[in-house]
């Protein structure tokens, strides 16, 4: 029997029993699809830091799909253009070049003020009684933050957020043809959104303008197409994962009676780390073996793909005692931001946003209780989260 059945509806809400089953069978499990599903902490970490595992297979798959579907008169070529500089899916040396450029020119100055401003703006509009914590709070913040960080002149936050939700499918493990066609439309919309702005350097003071200006000074500057893809990546990466991080965290905090533990912005960082371990927004990462390798006693042949279960690794009992329990004093070395050369370059932004937004929400009301369970979970194996959480609040 195939143990790898992640598309079963109940696992969308709670995938952890599936990871446990797989890990018990083997921390490196050969799925019916031919890929290796890795759910052991050590095994996942080992592969993430191993130079003989590359990250470019997803991009290659999309590029091959574009060519294949072209022959069937189905055009999804915008997807290829939109993701061509997604740093997550590049291998060295291009990865090294792009990542260095992104990190070196990204200043943290002023970011905290932007975050606090947006929190206050969004929070001031929330009425008492029943609130949808995602729709009225967590899902509104990252778009507003990244728009101002990049210096984009727009207030069409809802449309950008919608596009991000579609674009994130580019990172999912399995997609249908229909989803690829939708992804192509959102890719085109995103490209159109940035293309003109980049050509004209039509940004306010901010990160996008810095990138454009610094790029001109390079010996081998990025093309406008590459810059477009880079900005789309920053936008998408900063968006859904942050929404998910805040939504999952607030849900677990309220559900488990931990509100008082998370009231103070300046003392909650290590507690947030435990929530990141307990329920990671990023659930799966993919790698391909560039050479034959032996991981945890299992031979992985060159060209084989591994699907790394971050959620599985973070709940591995061999690494974490009582992994299915939240323990706020644990200070865990979780893998939720990855490890190795692809370690999330926006981790600080995600944590800064959450560490300001979570206490702000909790302190804004005298009482908060869950009204109904989270609903409309993401249709995405790689990114975990939900679109609705009704809570009752009283001032």
């Amino acid at each position: 029997m195939n143990l790898w059945n992640p598309l079963t509806p109940r696992y969308k809400v709670d995938p952890y029993p599936l990871y446990d089953q797989l890990r018990n069978e083997s921390p490196i499990y050969k799925a019916q699809t031919g890929e290796w599903i890795v759910t052991g902490y050590n095994e996942v970490k080992t592969i993430l830091i191993n130079k003989n595992f590359g990250s470019g297979n997803r991009k290659l798959w999309i590029e091959r799909s574009v060519d294949y579907l072209q022959n069937k008169n189905i055009d999804i070529s915008h997807v290829k253009d939109a993701i061509n500089t997604f740093v997550l899916q590049l291998d060295p040396p291009s990865h090294t070049r792009i990542r260095k450029f992104m990190v070196e020119n990204w200043s943290k100055a002023g970011v905290e003020d932007i975050i606090n401003d947006n929190i206050n703006g969004v929070l001031s509009k929330i009425q008492e009684n029943t609130v949808d914590l995602v729709q009225e709070y967590t899902s509104l913040l990252p778009t507003r933050n990244i728009v101002r960080i990049l210096g984009i002149t727009t207030t069409d936050y809802d449309e950008l957020h919608r596009l991000c939700q579609e674009m994130i499918k580019a990172l999912d493990l399995y997609v249908s043809l229909r989803e690829l066609v939708t992804l192509d439309k959102s890719s085109k919309a995103f490209i159109d959104f940035f293309k003109f702005r980049i050509e004209q350097n039509n940004f306010e003071q901010g990160l996008a303008r810095t990138y454009i200006n610094e790029n001109e000074k390079l010996n081998e500057p990025l093309t406008n197409e590459e810059l477009t893809s880079l900005l789309i990546f920053l936008f998408v990466a900063a968006e859904e994962t942050s929404v998910s991080f805040m939504s999952l965290s607030l849900y677990h905090i309220i559900q488990n009676g931990l509100i008082d533990e998370f009231r103070d912005s300046y003392t909650i960082n290590h507690k947030l780390e435990e929530l990141l371990r307990y329920d990671s927004p990023v659930q799966l990462l993919g790698r391909i073996a560039l050479k034959d390798e032996i991981i945890g006693g299992v031979k992985i042949n060159k060209g084989e793909t591994t699907t790394l279960s971050i959620g599985g690794a973070n709940r591995d009992p061999a690494q974490f005692k009582n992994p299915n329990t939240i323990n706020l004093t644990r200070n865990p070395k979780h893998l939720s931001f990855g490890q190795g050369i692809h370690y999330c370059l926006g981790d600080w932004l995600a944590k800064l946003t959450a560490s300001r937004a979570i206490p702000a929400f909790l302190n804004n009301f005298k009482s908060i209780s869950i009204n109904s369970e989270p609903a409309n979970w993401y249709d995405n194996l790689a990114i975990r989260g939900f679109n609705n959480l009704k809570v009752t609040v009283k001032s």
């Binding site: 059945n5 798959w61 091959r64 249908s176 690829l180």
Partner: protein, 82 residues
């Protein structure tokens, strides 16, 4: 009602079109993998099956029911049962 044979014939037909293998040479016991399907052509063929029978499938279905016989039987007993 659809029989496994009708569904099997449709699957053979689309595989034949995809791979160029003559329909008479395709056996029900053969796996999609043997017949040249990969993770890319699979999503296209899945869409053809979905449209033909107006049903919803998942990208894993070809792998879970990897031969024409198993896949046809799966469709007839679960997706097309009513």
């Amino acid at each position: 009602m659809f029989s496994s044979q009708t569904v099997g014939n449709f699957i053979k037909h689309i595989i034949s079109q995809e791979s160029g293998i003559s329909i008479n040479e395709i056996k029900e016991s053969q796996s999609f993998f043997e017949l040249g399907l990969d993770s890319i052509s699979a999503i296209y063929l899945l869409e053809l099956v979905e449209n033909e029978y107006q049903i919803a499938l998942t990208p894993l279905d070809f792998w879970d029911y990897p031969t024409i016989a198993e896949f046809s039987n799966y469709l007839v007993t679960t997706k097309l049962a009513k």
